[in-house]
């Protein structure tokens, strides 16, 4: 076999897969077709637009730089691929106050505002797709959810029921500073002392803002909703 034929063979065997698995899907997915809402089924008209607020781009950077994706996923798989949807607070909430069961699988609009979808590598910790909603409705009921996340990042094993957590502590995202006048609004409730307080750095603030943007509570159009019809309470 000549070198020319050899390289042609390699190019063909690799190139077909390269086009089919990488290049064409990449180009096709760059601009997803907008989803039109219809009054009859969606109760609204116009085009579906994913809602997400917070310092998403900054926070995603902190998330990536500190390797959160190594232990946490952001993917609620459909039931054919795993049991994630059955967990009561991963894909939504099993019993949301007003809307009943809001659980749904991850869709292509959930990563709005990010450059890279942090699907994740290993689930050493729980999935974070719905973390913002979970903190608000379950972990920090009646409290400020940001404060709960700051305390959790500072020491994931502080709360007695989480003594077994293997999440690293992110103490380096906090600074101890002298209190000037009154305490800062976002100072941690512990640490410091009479004259000193523990406050989150800019990175910690961005990260918490990003984590709070991970919610699955926006109703999705029927075209994206593959769940069976659920009873509305």
């Amino acid at each position: 076999m000549s070198l020319r034929n050899f390289i042609l063979g390699l190019s063909a065997s690799f190139g077909i897969a390269w086009l089919a698995m990488v290049v064409v899907p990449f180009i096709k997915m760059r601009n997803l077709e907008p989803i039109h809402l219809t009054e009859a089924v969606d109760g609204a008209t116009g085009i579906f637009f994913p809602k997400r607020t917070g310092r998403i781009a900054n926070g995603a950077e902190v998330y990536a730089q500190n390797g959160c994706y190594l232990c946490h996923t952001q993917l609620v798989r459909p039931t054919y691929a795993g049991n994630d949807l059955y967990r009561p607070d991963w894909g939504g909430l099993k019993s949301d106050g007003d809307r009943g069961d809001t659980r749904r699988e991850t869709n292509a609009y959930d990563f709005y505002g990010e450059k890279y979808a942090q699907i994740g590598v290993v689930r050493m910790g729980p999935d974070l797709s719905n973390l913002g909603r979970r903190v608000e409705s379950i972990y920090a009921v009646g409290k400020n959810p940001n404060d709960w996340l700051y305390a959790h990042l500072y020491n994931p094993r502080m709360s007695p029921e989480r003594w077994k957590s293997t999440c690293p502590s992110f103490r380096f995202l906090f600074t101890e500073q002298k209190i000037k006048g009154s305490r800062s609004l976002d100072a941690l409730p512990f640490g410091g002392g009479e004259d000193f307080e523990l406050v989150p750095d800019s990175d910690a603030k961005a990260l918490v803002s990003y984590l709070m943007s991970l919610k699955k509570d926006q109703p999705v159009p029927v075209a994206l909703n593959f769940s069976p019809v659920k009873k509305v309470k």
Partner: protein
């Protein structure tokens, strides 16, 4: 001119000695700096693995948080050790097989330093918090053009050597090495431009990253290791390759199947449905090239059992090829949609599979090549059979333990993850003992490699034995020195050395 086809054994030996001499500095540079990165990577690996079960271990400082130490560990292993070992093997094998002396040793050496600088900056970048957050591509974005340019400056000469070689037989090793040399830049440029330079859908970026990881394993590290094994097995035993058609089947099935693999990591994600399933199917089908090549190489080695028992190069290569067979088998076991894939998609098994590919298969074959190449380029023999034996035994124990703990532990963990009626903590509890086991296994691998590092450093300092007798592993009961009778002081003289 050395390019003239040698006719007598003396001329042939002179040509080989000339090739070895021309490549001595680049090859030894890649091997020693690669080994240094291997040491860094193993130490970081132990730290990262310990943090999985003991999160307060060395947790005071941002540099050493798990999310930075782990990517530093895996990237140092891939770009520091893996690539540099591959470079040494590529340039040496291609020169030997094309029968051409290397005329660009200085440029290769300079490019090798640039590569090392790129890796060092990348690892420091990860540790100081500039990681990109894309698995196996965590080096800050400035690193990839540096690595790519130095890659071309290192391997282009081997490509030229192949082009200008005298007409004649093209060996299967050359096929593999040439293919790896072409596939790698294609994969690397694709992944890096699409992820760093062109805006795309975030999920597709994640899919391309999964494809990149798989392609790097199966279209760069695998062909380089197979090229080395297909060279050493017939060379050391002195017998022809068992089956030429099996070798062709192994090569073309790898070339056709491997580019489709990888995206099964995104099963259930909202990307086109065919992609994860094709990825899973391709990873399962990689069993075919793995088994075809493993049988072919092992049968070639078995044709001379006494050489297999005595030669350190063959013993390591054989173990690595055993690792390849195991890798093919695990690919089937871990990636069956609707049965095992939901359990392993997000469990420790993925790490076990990657370490099996990078250490259990690739690194073992590279160690085999190191034990063969270094005496030839330094013209000194390995100092001690015992150091080689310890390196071999503890490496084998260590990799078997990692594979058992991570792959089987990953199944246990996956069962816990899928058991949605139990609280999440039960999945973490199931993984805990296996994480402890993985840390211990990395310690064993570090122990094994300490002996390798010492031995290689002594060889690099030209403190090897000056003898014409190779260091073999078999013990001959005789009254003379265990290395055989002392021969002439300097080895590798014309025609003095049989292959070992």
């Amino acid at each position: 001119m050395s390019s003239a086809t040698p006719t007598t054994p003396e001329q042939d030996a002179l040509l080989r000695a000339g090739i070895d001499r021309s490549l001595r500095h680049p090859v030894m540079f890649f091997l020693t700096s690669g080994a240094a990165w291997l040491a860094v990577s193993i130490v970081l690996g132990i730290m990262a693995s310990a943090k999985v079960h003991s999160p307060e271990f060395m947790s005071g400082c941002s540099l050493l948080t798990y999310g930075r130490v782990f990517p530093a560990h895996i990237n140092a292993l891939i770009y520091g050790w893996g690539f540099q070992a591959a470079f040494a093997v590529i340039i040496w094998l291609m020169a030997r097989l094309s029968r051409k002396e290397c005329t660009a040793a200085g440029i290769i050496l300079a490019a090798g330093h640039v590569w090392n600088l790129g890796v060092a900056m990348g690892v420091v970048g990860i540790l100081t918090g500039f990681s990109t957050g894309m698995p196996w591509m965590e080096f800050p974005a400035f690193a990839w053009p540096v690595l790519l340019i130095s890659y071309f400056a290192i391997v282009i000469w081997s490509f030229i050597q192949f082009r200008v070689q005298p007409e004649g037989h093209v060996y299967i090793s050359q096929w593999y090495i040439l293919a790896a040399m072409i596939w790698f830049p294609w994969i690397f440029i694709t992944a890096n431009t699409l992820l760093h330079c062109l805006p795309g859908h975030p999920l597709m970026a994640s899919g391309i990253n999964a494809w990149y990881k798989s392609a790097l394993m199966f279209l760069f590290f695998t062909p380089v290791a197979l090229g080395s094994a297909y060279y050493l097995a017939p060379k050391v035993t002195g017998r022809p390759v068992y089956s030429y058609s099996l070798a062709k089947l192994g090569f073309w099935s790898l070339a056709i199947i491997a580019p489709w693999a990888g995206m099964q990591k995104l099963t259930g994600a909202p990307i086109p449905y065919f992609m994860p399933y094709l990825g899973a199917a391709a990873t399962v089908l990689l069993f075919i090239p793995a088994i075809a090549s493993a049988i072919n190489i092992l049968r070639t080695m078995m044709s001379s059992p006494e050489t297999l028992a005595a030669s350190p190069a063959l013993r390591f290569t054989a173990a690595g090829i055993g690792g390849l067979a195991l890798l093919g088998f695990s690919g089937v076991l871990l990636n069956l949609p609707d049965s095992t894939l939901p359990l392993t998609q997000f469990s420790l098994s993925g790490y076990g599979f990657e370490i099996l590919a990078l250490y259990g298969f690739f690194s073992f074959v590279m160690f085999g090549a190191v034990y063969f190449i270094v005496p030839r380029v330094t013209r000194r023999e390995w100092l001690s059979r015992r150091l080689i034996k310890i390196h071999f035994l503890f490496s084998v124990y260590g990799i078997i333990a990692i594979v058992l703990f991570a792959i089987l532990g990953g199944f246990e963990q996956g069962i816990g993850q899928e058991d949605w009626k139990q609280p999440w903590q039960s999945a973490a509890d199931r993984a805990f003992p296996y994480a402890v086991g993985t840390t211990l296994a990395w310690c064993v691998i570090l122990f094994a490699n300490v002996f390798f590092f010492i031995h290689l450093a002594l060889m690099w300092l030209r403190l090897g034995r000056r003898s014409s007798h190779p260091t073999l592993l078999a013990i001959h009961h005789s009254t003379v020195s265990p290395h055989g009778e002392e021969g002439d002081i300097d080895n590798a003289g014309p025609g003095s050395m049989p292959a070992h």
